[in-house]
């Protein structure tokens, strides 16, 4: 099931609506946001996904990560 999330890419000028799947990994979620923001933000290989002020393990699935519909997550550099 698609989960709508508010994604904020470091370096970007606007938050984007990202549709994640339950089984997506956190790493996939980061890729989705990077692709969606690529018009304005250059791609980076080293990024982290931050949710509730904590970096998420990239191998976790969305359902394991605790992210729920209409939550905010950030993809930050480094």
């Amino acid at each position: 099931m698609a989960i709508p999330l508010y994604g904020f890419m470091e370096g970007d000028t606007v938050g984007l609506l990202i549709l994640a799947e339950d089984g997506d990994t956190v790493q996939t979620l980061a890729r989705k946001l990077q692709d969606a923001a690529s018009l304005r933000v250059a791609d980076r290989t080293e990024v982290r996904v931050v949710y509730n002020d904590k970096a998420l393990d990239p191998v976790l699935t969305i359902s394991q990560s605790g992210l729920k519909a209409l939550d905010r997550f950030d993809v930050i550099w480094g």
Binding site: P4, Y6, D12, L16, L17, R40
Partner: protein, 497 residues
């Protein structure tokens, strides 16, 4: 026959004691506003213009004739066609945002004309309503001749009748400010905060830009409107004085709330025009410089005069002066097909100017423009590649101001989520969340664009969203003015020949 000096006070100050009904039935708090006070507390209400209806009509007639004379001399289609392309798009922004917003001002003033608490207030609000009706008619008249030449000017009338995201935001603002407001809050928010605090942005700043851009018709129009605003804005001061005397905390709340709401909207309307949609050699100042000279200093002096404090979020406004409208412009450029006017990429010379004017955060903004430019270099210029240099997923919007979640900086967006009564909300900033929480019953059921899409009210497919929900067409949706064909970008098709 009475002399003018004898007749005018009788006509303007015509109050009496009610014997068949109670005063609070004639002026119910829900529509007259709070604090509810007996007329004895309002009887000294006064303003300085003291105009009679006959004088008003004579003056307005002369002003209208002056506008028409300028239109006949320099406002014809052939004159407008000579304007620079970026300024033309600034014109389209204001052509859409202004006229029907002014019409909502008619409604707000008529509420004051009936439910204002003193007869002199009601008299002045009647003239205010007539003013705002004039401010609706003049731009509709002037822009109508341009519709057959450029269908984007049709949005002068169409804009507020659509569900375009910016129309949703503007309606959310004006619905609360003017259409659904009690007389006291309307006159403080509109006359004191908007017309005293922000009107210079539109009517001094824009008039100056129009002059520099050789758009003498628009300059005359906004100058003529300004003469009305200066008069009816006087209603706000004596209303605020009485509220300050009886409920200063409430007066401070109204000023805090409405300064923020005005700042959000006008920083976009005017910031984009000054810093992006005016040719570089025709910009007399930056948006920030204009705000500091004409808005900030003056507003702070006015607050002092009334014994009001600076809004609690004042430091945030000062910080946003350096970045907010830049974040919005870059976001809007990359979603330009969702709007009804066209955009330009700031050239290297413009970016150098922007860096000088906005050194605090410009490095981060410059990186965004470099990335957008690189996309045009990759795909090549031309109308066929417009959508290859365009956002693909839905941008997101604030549950209070309904504007994009573009506050903060590229490094740290200030959006914040909130669960209220079991529902999730997101706000672009702390002040927007604060306003929501002061009166949640007022805002909680309004759906922003994202929630309209998720609920199925608006289509999720971008093409359908543009055409069916925003009511744009390929002819009218926003584009790059040059279709990515810039000399400096190295994409110009005819430069290699």
């Amino acid at each position: 026959m009475l002399s003018r000096e004898e007749w005018l006070p009788l006509a303007r100050k015509l109050d009496w004691n009610y014997s068949y009904v109670r005063e609070d039935e004639v002026f119910p708090e829900v529509i007259s506003g709070r604090p509810w006070l007996p007329h004895s507390e309002w009887k000294d209400w006064e303003e300085s213009f003291k105009t009679s209806y006959r004088e008003y009509v004579d003056n307005q007639y002369e002003k209208d004739m002056a506008v028409y004379a300028v239109r006949d001399a320099v406002g014809r289609l052939e004159n407008v066609q000579k304007l620079a392309a970026p300024w033309m798009n600034s014109l389209k922004v204001h052509a859409a945002a202004l006229p029907l917003a002014e019409f909502t001002g008619v409604i707000g003033n008529l509420r004051g004309a009936r439910f204002g608490r003193d007869s002199a207030w009601r008299t002045m609000a009647t003239f205010g309503a007539l003013d705002e009706y004039r401010h609706t008619q003049i731009p509709l008249l002037l822009f109508h001749q341009l519709v057959r030449w450029d269908p984007q000017f049709d949005w002068a009338h169409k804009f507020y009748h659509t569900n375009n995201w910016f129309a949703v935001a503007a309606r959310h603002f004006f619905d609360e400010l003017t259409l659904g407001q009690n007389a006291i809050e309307f006159h403080i928010a509109t006359n004191f905060v908007l017309e005293t605090g922000f009107t210079n942005l539109q009517f001094v700043g824009l008039a100056s830009l129009a002059r520099e851009s050789s758009d003498h018709m628009f300059e005359r129009m906004v100058t003529s409107i300004q003469t009305d605003e200066a008069r009816h804005a006087q209603i706000g001061h004596p209303v605020l004085e009485v509220v300050m005397k009886h409920d200063p905390e409430y007066a401070q709340y109204l000023v805090d709330k409405w300064f923020w709401r005005n700042w959000r909207l006008f920083s976009i309307l005017t910031g984009l025009s000054i810093d992006y949609l005016t040719a570089l050699d025709q910009r007399p100042y930056s948006f920030k410089e204009f705000m500091e000279e004409w808005i900030i200093d003056q507003f702070l002096r006015t607050l002092d005069e009334f014994g009001l404090k600076r809004p609690w979020y004042w430091d945030m406004v000062m910080d946003e002066l350096d970045i907010y409208h830049h974040m919005i412009y870059a976001s809007a450029y990359s979603y330009r097909a969702t709007l009804w006017f066209n955009f330009v990429i700031p050239s290297p010379a413009e970016r150098k100017w922007l860096r000088q004017k906005y050194p605090k955060y410009w490095d981060d903004m410059d990186a965004v423009w470099e990335q957008v430019s690189e996309r045009w270099r990759t795909v090549g210029p031309g109308p066929a590649n417009e959508l290859a240099v365009h956002g693909t997923v839905l941008p997101t919007f604030c549950d209070l101001c309904q504007l994009p979640l573009s506050a903060g900086t590229p490094r740290k967006n200030t959006a914040r989520t909130l669960v209220h009564d079991g529902r999730k909300y997101i706000f672009c900033s702390q002040p927007c969340q604060w306003i929501f929480l002061q009166e949640p019953e007022r805002y909680a059921n309004h759906q922003d664009l994202v929630k309209r899409v998720l609920s199925g009210e608006a289509p999720a497919d971008l093409a359908k969203l543009l055409t069916e929900y925003f009511r744009l067409t390929p002819d009218t949706w926003g584009k790059d003015v040059h279709s990515g064909n810039y000399d400096w970008l190295g994409t110009r098709k005819d430069s290699a020949a």
